[in-house]
């Protein structure tokens, strides 16, 4: 390996003092244009890279924020990431993305790692209770924004969707389509987002006596899990099947749709109406275009970064710390036949 080039070598080659090189790196305006040019030439010539570890030691901070998400392969998260990156880039921040893979252990590892790396702030979406851990990180100097669920603590900024209303809208829509045997597919209910959507759906059901409500608890919320649930429903006698299904996200719904329609010839929506949640971009082009509950994904990421920047600048004072977006119903062919 070549010897590491330090600012000492840069100073020697540029024939300036160490302090001048340091000034040039940290406050270029304080160095005369002539010296700036000499130093830059030396830097280029030597291939000098500021050692960020050393630099961070002094400065304590780097111009990065980290976004930890439980499942980056869900297009929902990727869309939020896009908003995050857009807003962050406009402010000169780079974004590191980490996938906790719905594992508490990995999530902890990333939280610790990013904090130790001294990123400027954290955006965290989680399926676990995470506020306590974020509070500790903040006390040690790394602020954060909770993404996807409303924080309980007034001190913890968060960006979320009103999932109770979302669940209510989904179930109410199925009922208005004349469905009376409704199934809620999703889980585990320990996840806040899932529990809130369930609660909203329950409210709509409670308003309509004569409508039955079944909960099909799933360990996960993936396309593969949707296949499993749909196969189980198809195996039931026809009269025992639900006639309206609210799947707690679009991945589950798309998996179900495929198995119901392609493998079992069940007619959607005639035999079974189906609505998902998140309105990912594949929903509109699915085998039967999928009805869904939509949140403004990109604005979501933008709002999260804005809250974080407010925290970082210490000007968060009067701004609301919890941004809650209202969801909207998107009706397509999976609930209403053309």
């Amino acid at each position: 390996m070549v010897a590491r080039v330090g600012i000492r070598e840069v100073a020697t080659l540029a024939e300036v003092s160490l302090g001048t090189v340091s000034h040039y790196i940290n406050h270029p305006a304080r160095v005369s244009p002539e010296k700036q040019e000499r130093i830059q030439r030396a830097i280029d010539q030597l291939g000098f890279v500021r050692n960020n570890a050393a630099w961070q030691l002094r400065l304590g901070r780097s111009a990065t924020i980290a976004y930890i998400a439980p499942d980056v392969s869900n297009p929902f998260f990727a869309t939020i990431a896009e908003g995050v990156e857009q807003r962050a880039a406009a402010e000169g921040y780079s974004v590191f993305i980490a996938n906790s893979g719905r594992s508490r252990e990995r999530e902890d590892a990333y939280l610790e790692q990013f904090e130790a790396q001294r990123v400027q702030g954290l955006l965290v979406a989680s399926h676990d209770p995470v506020e306590e851990r974020l509070l500790q990180a903040r006390q040690r100097g790394t602020p954060s924004v909770l993404v996807g669920q409303r924080a309980i603590s007034p001190l913890q900024p968060s960006v979320s969707v009103d999932d109770v209303t979302g669940g209510y809208l989904a179930a109410k829509h199925l009922i208005e389509c004349g469905r009376t045997r409704i199934a809620f597919v999703g889980g585990p209910l320990a996840i806040r987002q899932v529990a809130d959507r369930y609660e909203g759906a329950s409210r709509a059901i409670a308003e309509h006596p004569g409508v039955t409500f079944e909960v099909i608890n799933t360990p996960d919320r993936t396309i593969a899990e949707g296949h499993v649930v749909a196969a189980a429903l198809a195996a039931r006698p026809e009269a025992a099947r639900p006639d309206g299904v609210f799947a707690v996200n679009d991945l589950l719904a798309l998996g179900m749709l495929q198995t119901l329609v392609v493998d079992h010839g069940i007619r959607v929506p005639d035999d079974m109406a189906l609505i998902g949640y998140d309105d990912i971009e594949f929903g509109a082009s699915s085998i039967i275009p999928l009805s869904s509950i939509r949140a403004p994904h990109e604005e979501f990421g933008i709002a999260a970064v804005s809250l974080l920047l407010a925290e970082l600048s210490g000007e968060a004072g009067d701004e609301p710390k919890h941004v809650v977006f209202p969801p909207t119903l998107v009706v397509r062919a999976s609930t209403v036949s053309r």
Binding site: M1, V2, G47, A53, V72, A98, N99, A116, R140, S286
Partner: protein, 338 residues
């Protein structure tokens, strides 16, 4: 609140600074009683090890940096998942940077990873970064190219034979009786796009009476695919291609959405057959299940990390080029009418 230092921990635990350091770095050298006392003090004070300081001494962090072209493409998140799993089994984590097909952002992430002294870099390159990677290597950071074969064999790479994939896709369309084929993809400077197009050209050249039209789009996204699809749908029927090969599944999904719009009289595959690339999860759940070229995405991630670790353990080892063969997956969108 000021961050607690090793000194604070030592004082609280009533031991020397050296003992605290031993507890953190060589716990086997310290009695269990001392470990317990120091850990207790660490908890009390909320001490967090400063990785920046530690990395200065140790040289490298426990993190692999992965730069992808588009975090919204499920292909890349599958690659990331494979990389994470393999990295986790070696006690490493993976952080993602999304270059978003932008050379400035690509360079910024490489800078950040270098400054962080990451364990190694995996990158699906957008621009020409050979010189950049060479410099990383001189600084002891190995890099493996992902989803692109290394032109000069100076770097290890894990890729899929995109030439073969492009040829496979178009030969399949021709075998279904199609002769006016459109390739939709871009920017052409992305190596994967260039190779898939070259493969398509080879197939057309081998079959007299067939022709290839290239429709270049500015990004490999659903949105760009939809715009290209609308353009095709607006042409006079005789001017339309009878088959479309989309450079990836996102583009194909967008084309499909445009062709199947409510007011369109075009049917897929009756009038235009369609094949994508990557075989993402959503391809089989599309309104017309989408034919595609499958790449072993998670395996690509696994293998890339494996090679990176070999290379880091022995920097003198010669670079390895691993090329996987793509596989044709035929579904409804390109089935023949015969």
């Amino acid at each position: 609140m000021a961050a607690a230092s090793v000194r604070d921990v030592a004082q609280r635990a009533g031991v020397s600074v050296g003992t605290v350091s031993n507890v953190l770095n060589r716990p086997d050298k310290v009695t269990a009683e001392t470990v317990a006392r120091v850990m207790g003090a660490i908890d009390d004070l909320g001490f967090i090890r400063n990785d920046a300081a530690r990395q200065l001494r140790a040289g490298h962090s426990k993190t692999i940096g992965l730069v992808v072209l588009d975090v919204r493409n499920p292909f890349f998140t599958d690659v990331a998942r494979g990389a994470e799993d393999e990295a986790a089994s070696a006690g490493l984590t993976v952080i993602l940077g999304n270059s978003d097909e932008n050379s400035d952002r690509e360079a910024a992430y490489l800078d950040l990873f270098e400054e962080q002294r990451v364990h190694g870099v995996l990158i699906s390159p957008y621009g020409d970064i050979t010189a950049r990677l060479e410099r990383l290597r001189q600084r002891g950071i190995q890099a493996v190219l992902v989803d692109r074969s290394s032109g000069d064999a100076a770097f290890s790479s894990v890729s899929v034979d995109d030439l073969a994939g492009g040829r496979l896709a178009v030969e399949h369309l021709i075998a279904q009786g199609r002769s006016r084929i459109a390739f939709i993809g871009g920017p052409i400077q992305i190596r994967q796009v260039e190779d898939r197009l070259a493969g398509a050209r080879t197939a057309v050249a081998a079959h007299p009476g067939t022709e290839l039209e290239t429709i270049e789009i500015e990004a490999l996204s659903v949105l760009a695919g939809r715009a290209a699809g609308i353009e095709i749908a607006q042409r006079a029927p005789d001017d339309r291609p009878d088959a479309v090969f989309a450079a990836n599944d996102l583009v194909a999904m967008g084309v499909l959405q445009a062709l199947m719009m409510r007011d369109s009289d075009i049917r897929v595959p009756r009038d235009i057959s369609l094949i994508g690339y990557d075989d993402i999860d959503f391809a089989s759940a599309a309104v017309v299940p989408l034919s595609s070229i499958r790449q072993p995405s998670a395996l690509i991630g696994h293998t890339a990390v494996e090679i990176l670790l070999e290379q880091t353990a022995d920097p003198t080892a010669s670079p390895r080029q691993v090329v996987f063969e793509p596989e044709l997956v035929v579904r409804e969108s390109s089935r023949g009418l015969a």
